[in-house]
Symmetry: C2
Subunit: 92 residues, 2 copies
């Protein structure tokens, strides 16, 4: 997955809010959807975009699908930003 997909995934406010929700807890698709005034189908679409960008992982448990934050991709964009800022830590 390229940078573009990550930034594109982060450019939507609903998706950023989903990531914040997942900051400390694992939540099912339904629990996530309950936080938004939007159909479950739309939330599902956002979740699939976040997953394709590598920003979340999913795990099926019975009839639920639980989502968790995956911060490894963020390290890449973190370094890219630090590189732009001229921070030598991000250059190598």
């Amino acid at each position: 997955m390229a940078f573009g997909d990550t930034f594109k995934a982060l450019s939507d406010p609903t998706r950023r809010e989903i990531l914040v929700l997942l900051r400390h807890e694992r939540l099912s698709a339904g629990e996530i959807g309950a936080h938004f005034d939007m159909t479950g189908a739309s939330i599902s679409r956002h979740l699939s975009i976040l997953k394709a960008a590598g920003l979340i992982d999913d795990e099926k448990v019975g009839k639920y699908i639980y989502y968790t934050l995956n911060t490894t991709v963020m390290d890449d964009i973190l370094n890219w930003i630090l590189l732009l800022k001229g921070d030598t830590e991000g250059e190598k």
Copy 2:
């Protein structure tokens, strides 16, 4: 300017490349455009999006307009990412 505008601005590969070009030097719109196989009008549009997002500044000098990187907005998204990563430095 909100987070969404910043991430949206960063989601385009041409715009990210422009930021990298400006990392060490100040460049005019024409000099920036010379790096891309794209019309000057399209580059101009990208520059206006980057400027609206606060990622670059411009300065008119004679008939040229010079662009420079502005990294202050990046600090905000840097902190937002650190917050997601659970880094306490980014929480305050």
